[in-house]
């Protein structure tokens, strides 16, 4: 080849050819398959397949059903893809060996879905449109609330030690959201066995990271609006305040959990009701109005809504079928009960170390013990829905 033979790229915008009629639209003629206009490789949850299912189901392949050549790349130990043994929980069919491939074996695996993990559907039906629509709505609403508060000088109504409470304690919670959002939830989006699991988990992750940033930027606004507001107090509180070290310890422990399902279970089934909701719904939301603050509850309420109405919802849909699994119900129930035995005491201890916060605002929220009782009974309700027993540790 000589240099002159090389094509000389033209930077000019190409002219576009004239449209031609091809009559390539649906229904233009009849032939085999001409009316088969639905994805035919999975069985929908309901009679008709949903838009959500169409854009998520089977994107992540599985050698147990269609993936005939198996995973092509592995870690150093040879494991590729999304190993089922990344959690000790099992869905029916999990124990069957991967179909063997050999000369002339053909490509058939087990009949779809091959195992119970593929039956999970996110009841929130999250995919790209819903993710951006929901989160943008939250962002817009919070921006408006904070702007309106600033214009109406609403922050001037706050009791002085409520200013401090928000700087220190509401501020401290941003670290919980951030740490779990990244190192528990985003981390787990690599670990679940199907695309539906991992997509739901990644959406959960963004809720938490967004909520962390909402709190941080709110904190920044307050530093600009309120002269006495200490924008760095949250750092010292999170790192040094003994009242927060229980929460910090358990948050760190959650991110150190190897088994993705245990981490998710411990965070959304145990930690959030016993610590998250205790702090958000039973402390901040109760104390704020009495201290002249009608703005903070809108931020905290947005996070609470994400958890209670979306993240907990998919979490229940994820674990419930495993408790009732046709093959591994007993194994899964035993495992989850043991997780409860481990995590309930940790979370209760963290909750109790928060107790000093209840006496700090001028206008006091309802008593800590009542708040904790409410959190416990909410938690008991979640366990009942999942078909799990209250662990004896709950009464300690």
């Amino acid at each position: 080849m000589t240099a002159t033979q090389e094509p000389v790229p033209t930077q000019t915008e190409r002219s576009v050819p004239k449209p031609v009629f091809t009559d390539a639209e649906a229904g233009a003629r009849e032939f085999p398959d001409s009316n088969l206009r639905r994805f035919n490789y999975f069985i929908p949850r309901k009679r008709k397949q949903s838009h959500y299912e169409d854009v998520t189901v089977e994107v992540q392949p599985d050698p147990r059903h269609y993936l005939s050549q198996g995973w092509l790349y592995g870690f150093a130990d040879g494991k590729g893809g999304y190993p089922l043994e990344w959690t000790v929980l099992k869905a029916w069919g999990s124990d069957r060996p991967e179909p063997k491939r050999y000369p002339g074996s053909g490509g058939q695996g087990y009949e779809w879905p091959a195992h119970g993990w593929h039956e999970f559907r996110d009841p929130n039906e999250e995919w790209e449109q819903s993710i951006y629509r929901n989160n943008s709505n939250v962002v817009r609403q919070l921006n408006q609330n904070v702007d309106a508060a600033r214009q109406s000088k609403a922050f001037d109504q706050w009791n002085p030690n409520w200013v401090q409470f928000v700087a220190q304690h509401v501020g401290a919670w941003m670290h919980v959201d951030h740490g779990l959002g990244l190192y528990l939830f985003a981390n787990a989006n690599r670990r679940g066995p199907t695309n539906m699991h991992n997509t739901a988990i990644s959406v959960n992750s963004m809720h938490r990271i967004r909520s962390a940033q909402d709190l941080a930027l709110y904190n920044l606004t307050l530093s600009e609006e309120i002269a006495e507001f200490d924008g760095e107090a949250h750092l010292r509180t999170w790192q040094e305040d003994p009242a927060w070290q229980g929460v910090r310890g358990v948050a760190e422990q959650l991110t150190s959990t190897w088994d993705w399902a245990e981490a998710l279970f411990a965070a959304n089934v145990v930690f959030e009701p016993l610590v998250g909701e205790l702090f958000r719904s039973n402390l901040v939301q109760q104390a704020a109005p009495g201290n002249g603050d009608f703005v903070t509850p809108t931020l905290i309420g947005a996070a609470e809504y994400d958890y209670a109405e979306r993240d907990l919802r998919y979490t229940k849909a994820l674990f419930q079928p495993l408790v009732a699994d046709k093959e591994f119900a007993e194994h899964n129930t035993r495992t989850m009960q043991s997780w409860l035995e481990a995590w309930v005491p940790r979370c209760l201890a963290a909750a109790r170390t928060l107790q000093p916060l209840w006496s700090q605002p001028d206008a006091k929220p309802p008593r800590f013990e009542d708040a904790l009782d409410r959190a416990k009974s909410r938690f008991g309700g979640i366990l009942a829905e999942l078909g799990l027993r209250n662990p004896k540790e709950l009464n300690q």
């Binding site: 080849m1 091809t22 092509l72 870690f75 150093a76 790209e128 760095e232 760190e252």
Partner: protein
């Protein structure tokens, strides 16, 4: 909050991370690279409260265009030749996208700089966006294009066909093995920085020329997220470069990632753009011309070469050889010819080339007709069933190729084929680069250095092995590529939808059994194998048998 400057907001969110005092986050992925914990700048400066509305706004444009396209009946003007290749492309691409999302956590513990993690988390959700928006586009095609076959079975096809397997590397390579090799070098530094231009800019341009303006709408929207991902990759790369002991691994990984991306992406996208278009105006850029501009000039010369100032050796030889394969060795043409030879194993239809196509190819690639013209004339002649067999079983001067063990594209540039016994098995490779990837790079030592975290090539990598000595009618049934009359094939070597002109299982029954090239290779005696090798490397171009000696 809205009035806060982006810079201030961004600085504030740096306060979110903290040093663990009681428990370290779980460490699940290994790397042989070393990173020092130093304060870094988040290259993205992206805050979610502006990110979400920005993406939502982009969505409005995409979905608005989709409504408009359906109302305006875009599909009356779409070229079926182009749409058929979308059955392959859109079966593949949602997995690479979602795999990029899944890859992000591989970097959390291995790159110990929390400032980068915010950007990685945003990339994660970007990729969820890309994957599902592309699935949605495919769903729209299935619902509105004349022939839904192949779209309707898309993700099953993708999982059980050799063509899906080739594409799948561009996904599994992101999420396994050494965390930095995978999620940083292969994914962001090579795949995203170099090859997304051909995927997300060249492809949409060609789509528009074929009457489809939805693919451009979706893919430009996807591409507009890409610059952030490129910044993520670059930030990690600079950190890796700052430790001299990483250079050896970076050089290895750039070689592997470059060569694999070239083998896989240029095979697929090159074929779509050159053989999937009806636009034969002479002023339209060929794939080679686009490649020269976007990959050679924009990536190689402007991005890779400047890394040399950090003391890194970059793979000049492989870049030049990729170009040599595209420009002199007919890589894209050989691949397209192979796809068309093997149409019976596909889940889309391939339109024969016409005189107008021939003329364009000859204009853009002088000498094309002498090499490929006769074969495509045969393809045309054999496209409608008329007592003959599919072209793969007819004598058209074409030797069915062996597959490359590494990239799984067949060894089409016959003279470059490498044969070696690796891990106790005789394997063929399309090139030295692919042989090196398997025999040298994906091992637990590299140039005498321990690399315990390096990944492994796994799986039944030769698709034909699974169907060793099967009849093709049974193969097609096994894969599920039969239309709803139980007889007519999804794949066809033409675009005519007249049922009388379409191939059925019966036509395939008349073909002889189909032996696996690799199984056969391993059954040979040493001298037979040597003879096979010396014959193979004298074959071609265009798959022609070796001339008599």
């Amino acid at each position: 909050m809205t009035r806060q400057s982006v810079a201030k907001a961004h600085e504030k969110i740096q306060e979110l991370s903290w040093e663990p005092a009681y428990h370290e986050p779980v460490s699940q992925y290994g790397t042989d690279y070393t990173f020092s914990k130093a304060k870094k700048k988040d290259p993205l400066k992206q805050v979610l409260r502006s990110y979400f509305p920005m993406e939502e706004e982009k969505d409005h444009r995409v979905y608005g265009a989709q409504d408009g396209a359906i109302r305006g009946n875009m599909f009356r003007q779409v070229q079926p030749r182009w749409m058929e290749w979308q059955k392959l492309f859109l079966s593949i691409i949602p997995l690479p996208e979602i795999s990029a999302a899944r890859a992000m956590p591989l970097l959390f513990r291995t790159v110990p700089n929390p400032e980068l993690h915010n950007g990685q988390a945003i990339q994660m959700i970007d990729e969820v966006r890309h994957s599902t928006i592309q699935q949605n586009l495919k769903r729209l095609y299935m619902n509105n294009y004349i022939d839904p076959a192949g779209f309707n079975s898309s993700l099953r096809n993708f999982q059980n066909d050799y063509a899906g397997t080739i594409g799948r590397q561009f996904a599994e390579g992101f999420i396994t093995g050494d965390a930095i090799t995978a999620a940083s070098v292969y994914l962001t530094i090579v795949a995203e920085t170099a090859f997304t231009n051909t995927l997300f800019v060249a492809m949409p341009g060609e789509a528009a020329a074929n009457g489809d303006y939805l693919l451009p709408t979706v893919f430009h929207s996807v591409q507009s997220d890409e610059s952030r991902h490129i910044s993520n990759g670059y930030a990690t790369l600079l950190m890796a470069l700052s430790d001299e002991s990483n250079h050896q691994l970076l050089e290895r990984d750039l070689r592997y990632a470059w060569w694999n991306n070239h083998c896989v992406v240029d095979a697929a996208i090159g074929t779509f753009i050159e053989y999937g278009t009806k636009d034969r105006r002479k002023d339209r850029e060929s794939y080679a011309e686009m490649w020269r501009r976007w990959i050679y000039d924009d990536y190689y010369r402007s991005y890779l070469v400047p890394l040399e100032k950090y003391g890194l050796t970059i793979p000049h030889d492989l870049v030049e050889e990729s170009w040599n394969r595209i420009w002199n060795k007919g890589y894209v043409h050989e691949v397209a010819q192979f796809f068309a030879t093997g149409w019976i194993a596909n889940y889309w239809r391939i339109d024969p080339m016409t005189d107008e196509d021939f003329e364009w190819f000859e204009h853009k690639y002088p000498g094309w007709y002498d090499k490929y013209g006769a074969w495509w004339e045969n393809y045309n002649r054999l496209s409608v069933p008329n007592g003959h067999k599919p072209i793969a079983f007819e004598d058209v001067d074409y030797v069915y190729p062996h597959r490359c063990w590494t990239c799984m594209v067949p060894c089409l540039i016959r003279q470059d084929m490498v044969m070696d016994e690796v891990d106790g098995q005789w394997r063929t490779y399309c090139s030295e680069g692919c042989h090196w990837t398997d025999a040298v790079a994906f091992r637990d030592t590299y140039e005498g250095r321990q690399t315990p975290n390096m990944g492994k090539l796994t799986g039944a990598r030769e698709w034909e092995t699974l169907y060793h000595n099967w009849n093709f009618a049974d193969i097609v049934k096994d894969m599920g590529y039969v239309r709803d009359d139980g007889e007519t094939l999804v794949a066809q070597p033409h675009l005519d939808l007249d049922p009388k002109k379409m191939w059925t299982l019966d036509h395939l029954r008349r073909c002889p059994p189909f032996p696996s090239p690799n199984v056969s290779l391993n059954e040979m005696t040493d001298s037979e194998r040597q003879a096979f090798h010396s014959d193979y490397v004298r074959q071609g171009p265009a798959g022609r048998p070796a001339p008599a000696e």
